[in-house]
Amino acid sequence: MLKTYTYPRFEYTTPPEIASGRTLKVPVVVVGAGPVGLATALDLELQGVPVLLLDEDDTVSIGSRGVCYAKRALEILDRYGVGDAVCSKGVSWNVGRTFFREQEVYNFNLVPEADHHRPGMVNLQQYYLEEYLAARAASRPGIELRWKNKVVSVMQSGKSVTLKVETGDGFYTVEADWLIAADGARSPVRRMLGLDVEGKIFMDRFLIADVVMKAEFPAERWFWFDPPFHPGQSVLLHKQTDNVFRIDFQLGWDADPEQEKKPENVLPRIKAMLGDEREFELEWVSVYTFQCRRMGSFNHGRVLFVGDAAHQVSPFGARGANSGLQDADNLGWKLKLVIDGKAPEKLLDSYSEERVFAADENLMNSTRSTDFITPKSRVSRTFRNAALSLAKNHAFGRALVNSGRLSVPSFLTASSLNTPDSETETFAGRMLPGAPLDDAPVLENGEEGWLLSRVGGQFCVMYFADDPAAIDAATIAALTGLSGGGIAVQPVVISRRAGKLPGGIVHLEDRRGVFAKRYDARPGTVYLVRPDQHVAARWRSFDADRLGAAVARATCND
């Protein structure tokens, strides 16, 4: 098989604790250096928390796995310092074609919404993402990455977690205040702690093939329902980087995985799909069965679960890695505040509450896609085929066709951390408490930039004004004084016109009015933003007491 990618080998070094026999004491250990474990380590390190990151392997994800990274994930990756690398290596696509039997029933063009830094999605093989994250983590002084270090036992007692770690040179013990399990769908940590994960295995199998095209092939997403070259099943074709195309063939439950994987069975199928004249080479073939399930709670004492260890979804909609990165984003700042004694441990219950809500939304959407793609009864198949046949001529039919709903971040509108809008203040748009922030183009000192690269990482208050010179002295003084409290709040003034403001205030200019429109901002409008770039509260006028109460609520200090 062809190889477009060379897997890095990360260096293993003998842990000093093996010779010394000492127990290694750390505030946080992250188990699993996949995309979500690496992201969690980077998030905590950026918050100033040192992290020990253990992984039983010494390379990145093997083969064809995660493909599609959606806008919110790219924004989070920007914060971790790898957004540019992922976006410049990845490929974007806008055109999607849907086929039913012999015919194309419709196509769509997802023209990206203007005035966002990042596109709706980027396709990139998972190994590249992991490579960039691992390189970034290795460059950070607060992260100690130990490859080929396998956790073989976990014990939790009161305020610490004790791990036994196995290496090629022997065993050692780690005592951590907090353990983050990012060790994947089969999570050994979860098993060693005797914790359950509930859900069901879907009775279906998929054949995954990565092929390298020899000639130009459009960067489009093609989805077939019941195609002549694979009757009764579905097929998805997606472009990745390096001219590698990913193909997912639905096989059905009765298929024999070993048989299906053989090149003599795979090649004719791909040839039939592409038409015989297109040349290609096979790079990877595997068969997988997916599961839809989640843990009842993502925090258990001093152990926190992120990514596939906590929840698994069907692949439709790219909701696995995307939601795992959002777990990291949600957890990092909360754990930091708890470690620093600035918030009670109860704040970590909100990690579970919010990410369980998101996991359920992801499970619901991916299950709906699965049920459309793989009807479970005759009547369900009839409805699916009816929707497909109506899609060719009618817009409502196209809205019913579900070949995967791309990952979008959850609106955490029911979160206990939100301060609800006051009944007397109304806002248009969708930036309500719990919403993930919409990006907007801004100017800072005359230079073009993006809102989302200037807020986040810590609590921020966004204060909107027409003319910065017109903000009264008392408000300026109150905004500047916010950073003095127990929990830092960065003041950000966003104004329609240019002007000067005292140091310590981030000043962004909304010259084209995109921010004002997206946030329904008028002079005096205030947003309190969480470190993970979700709205915590908003008002039509600035009041330091209300703001203080909302920060307390968002950190479980109320």
Binding site: S377, R378, F383, A395, F396, A399, L400, N402, A435
Partner: protein, 74 residues
């Protein structure tokens, strides 16, 4: 009244953050309503459903249009 062929689902009091959610909400309800029925029972359910919805729409001009479109290509 002419028939509406654009996406048209919504639920009172419910706020949607994704354009695909209303149609998916309906489709899930529809499929779940058929759960555990035999093919024959499903056929009867579908017929009853059409009669219920047709009466609700009421306007025979609209229904004539829907009937015509539903037969196209079958």
């Amino acid at each position: 009244m002419s028939i509406n062929l654009n996406p048209n689902f919504s639920e009172a009091g419910k706020r949607y953050f994704s354009a695909y959610s209303p149609a998916d909400d309906f489709y899930e309800l529809l499929i779940n309503t058929h759960r555990d029925l035999t093919d024959e029972q499903s056929e009867l359910l579908n017929a009853r459903l059409i009669l219920l919805l047709a009466n609700h729409i009421g306007d025979i001009g609209t229904l004539r249009e829907a009937l015509k479109l539903s037969r196209e290509g079958v």
